[in-house]
Symmetry: C2
Subunit: 249 residues, 2 copies
């Protein structure tokens, strides 16, 4: 399997390109609209045909490139069925693998960050979206987030995978790129070791995170498989200025 982990620095998002060597068919997991050119260039360079884009959930921090890639590359849009997106070509459900050439992606319903969140298992790699991050997890305070559900999704579903399964998250803010189920079971400070549900809920209830910068634009845009608000250029500029200033400060 051809494999590329691609990083988009504005939202610190990892997009995963999986390609089948025999059929040259490819799938992109969690593509980001501002990185469409990068993704298309990589796909062309590798001689692949993009068959599907596949999102783990309705993102609140960036806009999916699904619709734009459909327009430019002719790819189909796969998304969790329970989110009922009219723009999706294929609704993902647990128990119904998505097959792209020789690549088989097993959807794992992992609610908690959002209620419609899925992880995808392909061979010895699991793409955990925002359910399980390296030494962390996604927040649970919007989009029907639910700490009880996330604890169950991670501890009962993801942690029941084999120890050596590689964990590829949707984000990392410290340039870490990969972990494993054994590593997260052992040392994830929120969900690993002997953390109880009560401890986890207490951690999540006291994160005191700010209201997400883009959520009011990203969620409606992503419910349309990736439509940017007209205000996006100005928003991005404002966001970049804010990030630059806060890093200097």
């Amino acid at each position: 399997m051809i494999f590329r982990q691609l990083f988009e620095p504005l939202s610190s998002t990892y997009t995963y390109l999986l390609g089948c060597e025999e059929t040259s068919l490819a799938v992109l997991i969690d593509p980001v609209i501002v990185a469409v050119e990068r993704d298309l260039a990589e796909i062309t360079r590798l001689g692949l045909t993009l068959a599907y884009t596949l999102d783990t959930h309705i993102h609140a921090d960036h806009i999916t490139a699904a619709l734009e890639l459909k327009k430019q590359a002719g790819s189909k849009i796969a998304a969790p069925a329970c989110d009922r997106l009219p723009c999706a070509d294929l609704g993902i459900e647990e128990g119904r693998p998505l097959t792209v050439g020789g690549i088989v992606l097993h959807p794992l319903h992992t609610p908690g960050h959002t209620d419609g969140h899925f992880a995808y298992l392909a061979g010895d790699r699991v793409f955990t979206g925002d359910a399980l991050l390296i030494d962390g997890c996604g927040r649970t305070d919007f989009q029907n987030g639910d700490a009880d559900a996330l604890y169950k999704s991670v501890r009962e579903k993801l942690f029941s995978l084999a120890d050596d399964v590689l964990v590829y998250p949707a984000h990392d803010y410290k340039n870490r790129r990969v972990s494993s189920i054994a590593q997260e079971k052992k040392r994830n400070p929120r969900l690993g070791g002997k953390r109880t549900l009560e401890q986890f809920k207490n951690i999540m209830a006291n994160l005191n995170l700010p209201y997400p910068t883009f959520i009011d634009y990203a969620v409606p845009g992503n419910r349309q498989c990736g439509v940017c608000p007209c205000e996006l250029p100005a928003l991005l500029e404002k966001y970049c200025r804010h990030m630059t200033e806060s890093r200097q400060g």
Copy 2:
């Protein structure tokens, strides 16, 4: 490929079991003598035949299980040719891959931690021994260690591998299990980013590490492919007591 990352807690060593599904032949990278029973049990459980043990270098912190596994499982001993171990069945050299069934291991001479150190590349995984650790590297103050050579080995040889190659080190002391070339290039605090040779040499010259507990036993024992000193049980007991006390303190 069957793959298992096995952890030995006394020396915090990772041993890697690679198995070929078609031929059932297996290789163990950096097996540890105190974990022989564990390794044999796993090999039996998976229905594999151990064809080779393969060490990355002459270890100073634990004794290899190569000779013991040869006795108990009939495996051959592969070790860096330049170390000239009379007990080795096969001398490893760069440019001459070790093939075990469908598994092909490409030796990469990576001196600096020891002069005879090798990393092994198998598909999209590199077993980096003590040359490159997650957010770190092996020390360079004994066994012909050389910070200049290690800088070159990591920056020129290992960092020239593809970004998505998975880095599997010989040790981790914080329960981390896996990294990638992109991750280490970006954030390894000793060797990543824009670290110059002078900065690296300065870091390595000022680590102020204690003389290794086992080195005077381990190195002669490992030069015989894994012979324990008669004092080992007493030494281990002393070491365990020391570790327990220092963790409590």
